[in-house]
Each structure stands twice: as C-alpha cells, then as structure tokens.
C-alpha cells in the first residue's frame, strides 16, 4: 500500500504557475461562497428553529435590491474569472514563434514520438529544459488525448487531422504522460513519461542519434520510393507543382480559393489530392491513402519543410517563415505567410 498523500501536483512548465494561480483564486472564491452560505444556513437554522409545534415563519418581505445584488455579484465575478481564464487560455493555445518541433502519433495503446533529427521514441519523450516545444499530433485510430499534468497541458489527438500543443518545461525531471481520452481496453496503459533534460544532456541524447537519419531525410527517401519526384520536379515544369519553398506559403487553387500550405494541407494533398488542386495543374495525382502511415506523413512534411530555395539551418530549428525568400513557382505568386499547423484540416476551415 502506497501511503504517500500528494495534495498538489508539481508545476514544471511556464504555464503551470499561471494555471495554478487561477486555480487558487477559484478555490478562494468558492471557499468563501460555501463558507458564507454554510454559516448563514447554520446561523439561521439555529436561531430560527421551531420553538412551538404550531409556530409558523414570518411573512416574506421581498427585496428587489437583494435579488439584483446577488444576481449581479456572481455574474461579475464570473465574468472576471472568464476573462482571466480566457487570457491564460490564449497563451496556452498559441505557441511561441520559435519552437522545437516534435511529432506525436497516438495509437491504441502507445505514444510514438519522432524528433526532426530522426530519433524515435515510444512512450517516452526527451525534451530540453527552457525551450518551447511544439507537438504536432495525429492519431492512427480513435481519439486519444495527450496529457502531461506537470505542464498543465492537454490536447485531444484526433484521427484525420493534426492537433498541436506546446509547452516550455522549466524543471529537469521525469513527468507523467497520460492518455486522457478513453480509447479502449488499455486506455489506462497508454501512459509514459516526459524526460526534461539540461541542454547539454539533451544534446548528448540527440547525438545518440537516429539510425535512419533525420525525419527530413526519411521523408526524402519516402518521396523517392513513392515516385513523388517524378511529377513534383523542383523546376515546377513537371506534372505537379514544385515543393521548393511551398511550406508556409499561400497557394492558389484551381477553384479560385487561396489556402496556406501547412501540415494539414500537405497531409490532405497526399491522402485526397483532388480535394485541393493547384491552379494551372490537372487533377492527375493519385491518392496515397493506405500507402503511407501517419508517421511517414509526418516525415514527408518535415522533408517538404526542408525544401527551401536557400538552405536555412538544421532541421531541429524552425526558422520563421518571414525570413524565407519568395520562391519562383507558377502556382504561388503571393508572398509567404507564417505557417503553423492548423487545428483543423485545411487552414481555411475554422
């Protein structure tokens, strides 16, 4: 029998303190409300208990002021709490511009991680302390939810789309990772840990390396193996548009719509290519549904990200799109816009 009685979780991210403060204020407000109500009930209950069998209560003297008062006060308190909560939530929902990207695939009943450098992990995620880490997550089967209590972070992982979450771990250590959306038999076994390391230790761990090379190079191999390069020529003269400089750019479609080439767009283009045909091109691309796994899709995305007109640095960093020069492609005449992965398939659907 484990007798330890923890009462409060460690906070190990930049958001934890903000969430906890809000939590404590909520406890204080609730505690105060319960205390006041309880004391009043007890006080009235004692003071006005029935003294004689036929005694009745006094007639009610209504008070509009009281009614309005105790309607307005909870409403105002509620609105303040709402605003504060929404404010912190905005920060939780918007990753910083500079993030270390890691890819997560959830499946019954394990978490698979891929680092851009190619390192793979199962049920364990190594991250450096003090850096914003952005997770792009996909599910292979049912809805899961990525939950790290110590970071106060959680996001559902949904099949058919990418979801993102971010955190900035502040303390080295090992922290629980739980699946928080019921997903079948071993739902409570779909757990692991996030290992937060000092920067040197993290570099050393990264150096331990990946047998298969970086995700981008894995993606390039898939790109060759599936013959994508036969249509998607770098020059843009092939049957398909060039992918150089594509990531994060605005793409004009045959339908007249303009969409952002983010993670979801690339995924959809591989699985349902006819859904968004680029202007000036024919809908001849076959679908690769069933031929690529979620992990391979993520590797392909990393590869496409790496295709810049000029080389930009290691795959482990993400350069803000604003620093990338415009690429000369027939299908994307507009200047690039920043391209974080959308929450829904297709950045145009919000």
């Amino acid at each position: 029998m484990n007798w330890s009685l923890p009462l409060f979780p460690t906070g190990a991210s930049t958001m934890a303190g903000k969430v906890d403060l809000l939590y404590f204020v909520l406890i204080a407000v609730s505690g105060l409300a319960v205390a006041v109500i309880s004391l009043l009930i007890i006080a009235f209950g004692v003071r006005y208990r029935r003294r004689a069998p036929d005694q009745v209560g006094a007639p009610v003297i209504p008070s509009l002021a009281l009614e309005i008062g105790w309607t307005a006060v909870p409403l105002v308190v509620g609105l303040v709490l709402f605003a504060w909560g929404a404010n912190v939530y905005f920060a939780q929902a918007r990753p910083p511009v500079e993030t270390l990207d890691v890819y997560v695939v959830g499946k019954q009943w394990m978490w698979k991680f891929q680092h851009p450098g190619g390192q793979r992990e199962i049920n364990e995620l190594h991250v450096p302390v003090g850096r914003a880490v952005r997770l792009t997550a996909a599910s292979e089967d049912v809805i899961h939810s990525f939950f790290v209590p110590a970071f106060r972070v959680k996001a559902d992982v949904i099949p058919g789309r990418y979801t993102t979450l971010w955190f900035n771990a502040t303390k080295p250590g090992e922290y629980h990772l739980f699946c928080a959306e019921y997903c079948g038999t071993q739902h409570s076994g779909m757990i692991g840990k996030v290992v937060v390391m000092e920067p040197n230790a993290y570099q050393a761990w990264l150096g331990g390396g990946a047998a298969e090379g970086s995700m981008a190079s894995q993606g390039q191999k898939i790109f060759q193996d599936l013959a994508c390069h036969t249509c998607h020529l770098d020059s843009g003269q092939g049957r398909g548009p060039t992918l150089v400089g594509l990531y994060g750019s605005q793409v004009g479609l045959a339908s007249g719509q303009v969409v952002t080439a983010d993670d979801a767009y690339i995924r959809e283009s591989v699985l349902s290519p006819a859904a968004k045909v680029v202007a000036g091109f024919q809908p001849v691309m076959p679908t690769f549904q069933g031929l690529v796994s979620e992990e391979q899709l993520l590797a392909l995305i990393e590869y496409v990200k790496s295709l810049q007109a000029k080389p930009q640095g290691t795959p482990a960093t993400q350069a803000p799109a604003g620093q990338q020069p415009a690429a000369a492609t027939p299908a994307a005449p507009q200047p690039r816009a920043p391209g974080p992965a959308g929450r829904n398939p297709g950045g145009d659907r919000n």
């Binding site: 007639p59 009610v60 009281l66 909560g85 089967d141």
Partner: protein
C-alpha cells in the same frame, strides 16, 4: 386530535389485481410503477459503482480485467443516468403530484403516460440485455470513432435501449407541459403555482427539445457502426468531433433534466419545513426557465480540448459562467427563506439542506471547468468525476431522497420512523463527501478518469474514496428497509403530517383515484403560512 386512520378507498386499493396495475391510466399508479423500476435499476447501477471502487483500491488493475472495468464504468453511467436519474423525480413525483398540485384529476394524456412506462421498460430491458450479453465499453458518452469502429462490445443493443428510453422522457415531458398549460384549477394562475411545478415545467421543456437530438445521435452511431456510412469517419471526410457536438447538445441540457426537479423539490421542502413562503418566489421560478434556456447554449464546454477554435471556446466559456448565475440565485433565495422561519429538522429537511451545501460545491466546481485555462488541465480527470457526482448524487439524488421522504406519507398513508431517516441522511452526507471530495484532489493531481490502473501515488486518496463509498452504500440501503417496513407497520400519517399548506396535503393520504372530491379553487399564493395555526390533519 383524533387518532388517524387510512381512508377506506384510495387509489392503491380502488381496484385489485395485476391487470389493474399493468393497464392503469391513473398517474399515481404509474408513478409507483416507475418507482419500482428505477429503484431496481439504481441497485444495479450501484452494484457497478461498488465494483469500480473496489477495483480502485489498488493501483494495478488486479480485480477485474481491463475490458470488464471499462464495461463497468460504462454501464454504471448508462444505468444511473438513463435508467435512474433522468426518470427519477419526473416519472415518480412529477407523475404523482403534477396533476394534484395543479388541481387536476390526471395528466392530460393518461394513456400516453402508461405508454411512457412501457417504453421505459422496453428500453431498459434492451439495455439490460446489452449488459447480459457481455456489456458495453464505450463510456456512457459513446464517442466516435471508438464506438463506431473499434469497440467489440454490444454497442448497438445499448444504443437501441437508450434510444427507446428517450421516448419515455419525451412523452413524460410533453404530458407535463400540456397539463400545466391547460389543466390548472380555477384561480391557479402561473404565479400561484408551487415552485415544484415551475421546475417540472422547465425540466419538461428540456426533455421535449433535447432528447430528440440524443435520439438522432444514437441513430447516426448505429448507422455508422452497421453500414459505415462515413458520417463520423475521417476516411470518408467525416468528422469524429461532429458526434461530440450532437451528443453534448442533448447531454448537457440532460444534466439540468437531472437537477432541476431536485431544485423544485428543495423549494417545496424549504418552504414546508420553515413554514414560510419562499423568498424571491418569482426569481426562483424564472431561474428554472433561465437554466433550461441557457442550458442549451453551453454544450461546447465539454469539448474545450477537442480542437475547437479559441473563439468558439471563449463563447462557450462565457455562457457557462452565465448559466451558473440562476442556480446561485436559487441557493441565495433558499438561504434567505430560512431567515425568520420556523424551522424543523425532519428527514426531508436534512436532505434539502444537504442538497444546498453539496450542490453549492458541485456548482462552484463547475466554474473551475468553465474556466478555460483550468479546464485544459482538469478535463477528463477525476476533477470532472467529482464535480458531476457532487451535482448528481449530492444534488439530484439527495433531492430525490428528500422527495421520497417528504411525499412518502402522502403516497402510502404511512410514516416511517424519522430518527432512522435522519441517521441515514447524515450517513449519506458523510459517506458522500468522503467518497468524492478526495477525487477533486486526485483530478488536479492529474489522475485521468476511466482508468483501470493508476499511478502509485494516487492510492491513498483512492482508498479514502472507496471507504467513503462503503459508508455511502450503507446510507442508501437503510431507507429501503424502513420505508418498506413502514408500509405495514408505520404510523398512519393523515392528510398533512408536515403542516404544509401546499395543495397536495389537502387531500387524504393516500389520495382517492380522482385526487379531489371537488375541484379545488385557488385564491392565494402557493406558500401562505400567515394563519396563526398551520393546518394539521
């Protein structure tokens, strides 16, 4: 005062035989049919709860297998929600007392009322069949794509069962709305109605408007599971989260179906046991309607981490704060009613006071969940489990028990021993808090819900919770004994054992088949205790 005797003829003995019960159209008999059924279902749901709590005594999943555990919490939820809580007060006390409280001889559609019970039983049997055939393991929430593509359990049978039971709720709600609108006794204007009627009216609105959406959601799940039509399947361009929207559009208002009737009961109890008019009657009446309306606007707060846009989340969050306000208004008005009252502490009043305290905690923790930043952390953890049990058990169930103890003498003509009643009520209160308060702590610590096995450090709190559950179970079982005992050996209650001025206490206990010897004519407000001596039988 003369010694009290039971009336010679009343609704329960006016006719004899199984057929007279199974083919009755008397709303009071139908109420008892429901009482029997839901009590049996409550025991089943409670058994599942005990098994869950026993498993959770130790961190590893060592008592039952993982699939069995998943079925246990699923069926605990389905049975308790659809087969106990949703019908509970409306189908028993609403059926029994709505006609009497409006001065009518029966509900507007008595045969539809009986049909409602049969539909409930058929749906219930389907659900029990799902259990007997090996159970369902999707969670009571049936989330896709797990329920449509991955679950190997009896999803269809269970979905059909719940679908059928939904029609029972719809018919009950429809019956109440029409009765309250068209069959009020002369002089009984809307603002002279007891607050229980206002609560039943608001509940019925939700029943009628919300339940059909659950029905179509379950139809969609069944079609998807059987025919793979693609509506929730990403491979076809479908959206698994669409199911969540459809499901919660009903299931959030459903929680108000479960708690509003209890709030109505609490209004009755506080008025009767303080011998006073409810403070702010009009505000309490309108707050029921406000809860019903706002309750339809907040479903997205179950989906804050499901990938919703930030702006969508903000809208649902602010509305969720707003829906809390009418509930707060009720709590304040009940408290103010006690001021200068003449308060006694019989069993029903203990349940009413317990409701107020526990509902306050439950409702306030709802604010934690409405707060976006906090919800990200506590969503799908034991914090949520604790929150809704405070409302469903600490609130709705306590209200139900309060109603049972309050109206028992009217329905049966007998009193139960009040001392044991009070002991049971206190036992329930203590057991309840010990069971569920540690779960708030567990939730913030990060223990997810629906976990068969859990991290080591959560054990002590789980042991506390299970200990509480054992006490709670005892507290629930005690009334079964003394209530049944009272049927034969309890003191004869008389028409008005509590000294209440509500209409139902002016008829004999038990009431005659047609409720009133003469149609009552109402001349004053619902709770008028201005006479120097309260009426006694």
């Amino acid at each position: 005062m003369d010694s009290l005797t039971l009336p010679r003829t009343h609704y329960a003995n006016a006719e004899y035989g199984l057929r007279s019960w199974l083919l009755t159209t008397d709303h009071k008999r139908i109420a008892l049919l429901f009482l029997g059924s839901i009590s049996a279902f409550f025991l089943i749901g409670g058994l599942f709860a005990m098994l869950i709590r026993l498993e959770l005594l130790t961190p590893p999943g060592d008592m039952v297998g993982a699939d069995t555990y998943n079925k246990l919490f699923t069926m605990h939820g389905i049975v308790m929600i659809f087969m106990f809580l949703i019908p509970s007060i409306p189908a028993v006390f609403g059926n029994f007392f709505v006609p009497i409280m409006v001065g009518a001889k029966d509900l507007a559609f008595p045969r539809l009322n009986l049909l409602s019970w049969y539909i409930f039983m058929i749906g219930g049997l389907f659900t029990l069949a799902a259990i007997a055939l090996g159970g369902v393991d999707t969670g009571w929430t049936f989330y896709t794509p797990f329920s449509t593509h991955a679950s190997q359990s009896n999803v269809m049978v269970a979905a059909v069962g719940v679908f059928i039971m939904g029609f029972s709720s719809i018919l009950t709600g429809l019956n109440f709305i029409v009765t309250i609108h068209t069959m009020r006794a002369p002089g009984l204007t809307w603002f002279r109605l007891p607050l229980f009627i206002w609560a039943m009216y608001a509940t019925s609105l939700i029943n009628v408007l919300g339940t059909p959406v659950l029905a179509i959601s379950l139809v969609a799940v069944a079609l998807e599971r059987a025919l793979h039509i693609g509506i929730f399947d990403p491979a076809y361009g479908g959206d698994p989260v669409l199911f969540q929207h459809l499901f919660w559009f009903y299931s959030h208002p459903a929680v108000y179906i479960m708690v509003l009737p209890s709030m109505g009961v609490v209004s009755e109890l506080v008025a009767t046991f303080s011998r006073k008019n409810i403070f702010g009657y009009t505000f309490v009446a309108f707050s029921s309607l406000a809860i019903a309306v706002f309750g339809f606007l907040v479903w997205g707060h179950h989906m804050f981490v499901a990938g919703m846009s930030v702006y969508g989340a903000m809208i649902f969050s602010i509305l969720s704060f707003m829906v809390a306000v009418p509930s707060a208004v009720k709590v304040f008005n009940w408290t103010a009613t006690l001021y200068k009252g003449s308060i006694s502490y019989e069993t029903p009043m203990l349940y009413a006071l317990g409701f107020i305290g526990l509902f306050a905690v439950g409702g306030l923790t709802g604010l934690f969940l409405a707060t976006l930043a906090v919800d990200v952390h506590v969503h799908d953890t034991y914090f949520v489990v604790a929150h809704f049990h405070y409302i469903m058990v600490g609130g709705a169930l306590m209200g139900y028990l309060g109603a049972l103890h309050y109206w028992w003498p009217k329905m049966t003509g007998r009193m139960y021993p009040d001392l044991i009643g009070r002991i049971a009520a206190v036992t329930v209160f203590i057991g309840f808090n010990l069971t569920f308060f540690p779960q708030f702590v567990l939730g913030y610590l990060g223990m997810p819900r629906r976990y068969h096995a859990y991290a080591e450090e959560f054990q002590a709190l789980n042991v506390l919770s299970t200990a509480g559950a054992s006490i709670l179970a005892v507290g629930f079982l005690i009334p079964a004994f003394y209530l049944l005992w009272s049927l034969k050996y309890g003191k004869v209650a008389g028409a008005n054992p509590w000294g209440s001025v509500s209409l139902e206490w002016t008829t004999p206990s038990p009431p005659p088949t047609f409720n009133f010897d003469e149609t009552p004519v109402i001349a004053g407000p619902a709770y008028d205790y201005r006479e120097p001596e309260a009426k006694r039988a």
